[in-house]
């Protein structure tokens, strides 16, 4: 089995911090409907533009029913935040594995096959990485959002496709380089000499040896997806701005940035709270990735 220093992991503060943050957000996402005090989609016409509950002594004081205030449609920000966690988790759990799958496959094929196939795949990676990433995703979202919005997870799938379309490139390159290094090892020569089929070489020898590269890439790219959604939401080219339903379709942190931009004067929390959530999640994944990196480096040096 792969060596893993459980004891060192349990003694490390950063690992505890990361796991705690992930667990908290995971629970929030799972229990969202029962925790959230209000329906995140439904606004009230009387309680619009409320500040957070501890802001008192102005003409429109905050209310305890709406802990973080309401937006300009009278929707509870706290509930929207909690339901937004679900969106973020959905994206993380679909987009990153999809990109990882494509990247690993293409990287393995390019590295193992070599020759003309390798050249073509590398040309493709060069092309995709020369495209401006966010614009590429925006164009994909613009293409698909009118087609898919009513069904298919409220059009979130467009973001998944968009991220997978650009995200795989860096992983494919990493995996290819690793495969090239592994191919020069003697056990590979031995298995080729024994007449192993290419499929067997890939699944038995290459895949287990690049597995840790893939895992670390996944952990490092989870923040990227959340950030991407936030940026798209901020610009207003989100799935939440689909043709008819307007802002009421999907609750996401990116969408909160969009509405928070115009709400800065009465409630800056709409902007600050989701960015704090993103900061926490992203930091915990990065620190966990750092820890795993140091583990693999030590294993490599042993």
């Amino acid at each position: 089995m792969i060596f893993f220093p459980w004891r060192r992991a349990l003694r490390s503060t950063t690992v505890w911090f990361s796991l705690l943050v992930m667990l908290t957000f995971g629970l929030l996402a799972w229990l969202a409907p029962s925790i959230a005090p209000h329906d995140p989609y439904e606004g009230s016409f009387t309680q619009t533009r409320l500040p957070s509950m501890w802001v008192q002594g102005i003409s429109k004081p905050g209310m305890p029913e709406y802990p973080l205030g309401t937006d300009s449609f009278g929707r509870d920000i706290f509930s929207r935040l909690i339901h937004g966690t679900r969106t973020a988790f959905f994206l993380v759990l679909t987009a990153v594995p999809l990109a990882a799958l494509i990247g690993t496959l293409l990287g393995l094929i390019a590295g193992h096959a070599g020759g003309r196939l390798d050249a073509w795949i590398m040309l493709l990676t060069d092309m995709v990485s020369a495209l401006p990433g966010i614009m590429f995703v925006v164009i994909i979202v613009l293409i698909f959002r009118n087609l898919l919005t009513p069904t298919w997870f409220n059009g979130l799938i467009t973001l998944v496709v968009g991220f997978a379309a650009i995200g795989w490139v860096s992983l494919a390159r990493l995996i290819r380089i690793n495969v090239l290094q592994i191919k020069s090892k003697s056990f590979m020569e031995a298995s080729v000499a024994l007449g192993a089929a290419p499929w067997r070489i890939i699944t038995r020898h290459l895949l287990p040896n690049v597995f840790h590269v893939m895992m670390i890439w996944i952990i490092n790219n989870i923040p990227a997806v959340i950030l991407l959604e936030a940026v798209l939401g901020y610009i207003g080219v989100d799935i939440t701005r689909a043709s008819d339903g307007g802002e009421f379709t999907v609750v996401s942190w990116g969408g909160m940035f969009f509405s928070g931009r115009s709400a800065l004067s009465f409630n800056p929390l709409i902007l600050i709270i989701p960015s704090l959530c993103i900061l926490l999640i992203s930091m915990s994944f990065i620190l966990l990735g750092d820890f795993l990196n140091s583990v693999t480096r030590q294993e490599y040096e042993r």
């Binding site: 613009l142 960015s275 993103i278 999640i281 990065i286």
Partner: protein
Amino acid sequence: MTQFLLKKFLRMITVLLGVTLITFLLMHAIPGNPWSNYSNSPRMLLNLGIDQPLQAELNHRFGLDLPLWHQYTRYVVGDFNEDGSFFCGAVCGNLGPSIQQRGRSVQDILFAPPEEKTFWESRFGYSMRLVLLGSLIATGFGILLGILSVTRPKSTGTRISVGLAALISIPNFVLGLLTIIVLASGLKIMKVLPDWEYPSSWIVPALVLAVMPMAGIARVTHASLLNIMNEDYIRTARAKGLGRTRVMLVHVMRNALVPIITFLGPTLMEMFTGLLIVENLYSFPGFGREYWSAVLSLDYPLILGLTLIYATGIMLVNVLIEILSEILDPRIRSVKLQGVQG
């Protein structure tokens, strides 16, 4: 060397062709047409669309009634005018007329400076200056922080790396909005709409642009320095009595620079992407701001032109970095040759 450059040049042309083709196909797949997607025009707000004959006339004028393959070759190579004369396409630097900004060609929008100004006052020049300033800040402070996080005692180093993890996870538009709220409307140090003639007003946008790449560079520097410091020859150098600073500068830094420099390519790319957001935030007169409106209003030639410039910039940066890292570490070339043979 000439062979190397020639090879790179050929590859660049191929990649650029592919990039334009991908962008071309994708942007034509966006539903709607340039005449219906006037998101910010008063005509659209008043619900005054363009009637059919006028739309057909406009389509014809911009060549949008041609089949797609013809439009693409028309853009890249060129086409014949109505009177039979030939005009050259993107290969000659003619990026076509802009659809939404009538009467101006794309290269005119991007590269032509306002009257009686230098090239650096054009949209492209403005963006270039901002990116240059940002990358100077990012690389300088990034490498410095990375060195500090290794050479300082362990507790400070940990603190620096946690701080870097925090910096890398703040979305840059949040940072930009915060600077506007705190510095512009709170403390009134900078203006909400700064005058770009003064160099002092460039500092804040460049910093906001540089924070994320800086943290990334610092993290890579940290990792690469740690890798090198564990090597045997570093211990030998210290053991034979060389000073700490000398070992750090001569032995460690020189070898650690190669991975750092290879990392600079993707990071500078990220900075171009950040440009799209930062320019929008500070209403900076660069080309990043054009990009959004071009995509949202389906200004086909402008989208293609901007993508072309972006891709060219990235390819050039990558080639530069490849050359630099080969100069710094001649071993790379031999490794690559082996890789080709094996």
